[in-house]
Amino acid sequence: MSIELKNISYTYMPKTPFEHLALDDISITIPEGKITAIAGHTGSGKSTLIQHFNGLLKPSKGTILVDGVDIGKKNTEAKAARRKVGIVFQYPEYQLFEETIAKDIAFGPRNIGCSEDETQERVKQAMDFVNLDYDKYAHRSPFQLSGGQKRRAAIAGILALQPKYLVLDEPTAGLDPKGRESLMEKFRRLHKEKGTTIVLISHNMDNIASYADNVIILNKGKVTMEATPEEAFSKKEIISQAGLELPEVKTIMNELAQNGLEIQNNAYTMDKAVEEIIEALRRKGKC
């Protein structure tokens, strides 16, 4: 089971002088149970792409299958399939509107017809998950929160829908480094504990290196790579053509290799890099 895009093209403002082909013949698969990262320069079409996953945008061409169901259809089966996908937009805190945080998080579950008990249960779980203490915050106004807390409250609003596929559009943009790390850890926990499939849009290649199972690189509306991180980071050309940078660890390893240290150079996370370097030094007989 997966989200499958077949030959998707999307044009903004067709038949006007502002016509813009934002997605050009994209075919990708988002496998269930994995963390898939989508990377690309600003304007490469990442946000446009993910809005197709739950039918917010209708492709100009092509079809989208969620767990094998064509979500472009108008039947209840297609509607159910669209609801399997939850999207956390960029700067989600701007969608908060209710008087209290609990009511705001309850908006989604109520819309999809959860009972009152079920809704309350989901609100509690979601708040707990993003580390917002229910007793302390549930009945406060979301507009009294700090920036990072607002972000977490808004994310809880999507988590309460309990989507099978969770799509995150640059979830850590504008947060401080500590906030970024703890938020990413929460998503990783969600993935581990509940098996939620995660699609992560990110600029931050270090983040992608440490979390993703698959990487999709977008460049000017085209997919230029769909690979494992290991394979993706070994193709420096494609990465830099897309206006991206290699993870810091990978850059350092490349430098070491160039300067004559005989490492395997497959590592892109800190831990693996340390292993590789130690092994290389051992082979050289220096350790």
Partner: protein, 266 residues
């Protein structure tokens, strides 16, 4: 999608019409519209239509775009056509119950529709070929004689500039918020009037909050740059007349004189 709206949108370009001074464009348009409603000679309608078509061709705008600008007012045009069709006395050609359609009615209805179409089409050419900034600058400068009697020309122009600057931003924002709430399962297009009105709250609240936030930020940014009303302000871009404006004035004068000659001699 909301952002697909082209009403009053500027299409950048390098045509002579784009290059004209906005003040000249506004004045000529004003005279043209007065002429459209003043002259009632059939040959003159031909000349005025030809003039409008000439300007569209010169501007390099897609003809379809200009025609589309008439669409929002299509019903008004049809309505006034219908009224004239049945309310003009003359030679009857068709009768339904108490309503008599006359030959004069058809002609009159056609003329009224043509006048409306010419007016809308030429006004939208002004909007399509002039950036909002130049447009408000021109309005300010045309209204500035009124400053002497205490009319806040600069302040009004500034308000218009800011409003126009933020229309696309707010549309984009509305679009984003609607999508975000749809992702949370809200059905904005479903249900009866009250359900839909209620469905607007999750969109309107964040929209107002963000509009106020933007207004606040803009006010602070303007104050930080010591902005102070219209007294003794100079412009970064001086409005100057160029060759193209004199050409336009000349051609328009010939156009106007021929209208007058036709009107009073034929």
């Amino acid at each position: 999608m909301l952002t697909d709206i082209t009403l009053g949108q500027y299409f950048p370009g390098n045509s002579p019409i784009h290059d004209m001074d906005a003040r000249v464009k506004i004045v000529l348009l004003f005279i043209y519209i007065v002429a459209v409603f003043l002259f009632d000679n059939h040959i003159n309608y031909g000349i005025m239509t030809a003039g409008a078509i000439g300007v569209v061709l010169l501007s390099g705008l897609p003809v379809g775009t200009v025609l589309k600008s008439i669409k929002p007012l299509w019903w008004i045009i049809l309505f006034s056509f219908g009224i004239h069709l049945f309310s003009t006395p003359g030679e009857p050609i068709f009768k339904v119950w108490n309503f008599v359609m006359t030959k004069e009615g058809i002609i009159q209805g056609f003329i009224i529709s043509l006048r409306l179409v010419l007016m809308i089409a030429t006004s939208s050419i002004l909007m399509f070929t002039t950036s909002p900034l130049k447009l408000t600058d021109a309005l300010e400068s045309l209204m500035s004689p009124l400053k002497k009697i205490g009319f806040p020309a600069h302040e009004l122009a500034m308000m218009m500039t800011i409003a126009m600057r933020f229309i696309p931003t707010l549309l984009e924002e509305t679009d984003k918020i609607i999508k975000a709430q749809q992702s949370r399962g809200s059905d904005i297009d479903d249900g009866n009037f009250f359900q839909r009105a209620k469905g607007m709250i999750p969109v309107l609240v964040p929209l107002f909050i963000s509009a106020f936030r933007r207004a606040d930020e803009l006010a602070i940014a303007m104050e930080a740059r010591c902005y102070q009303g219209g007294v003794d302000r100079t412009r970064m871009k001086q409005q100057r007349l160029h060759d193209v404006d004199f050409w336009a004035g000349g051609i328009f004068s010939v156009f106007l004189i021929s209208l007058i000659v036709v009107q009073f001699t034929l």
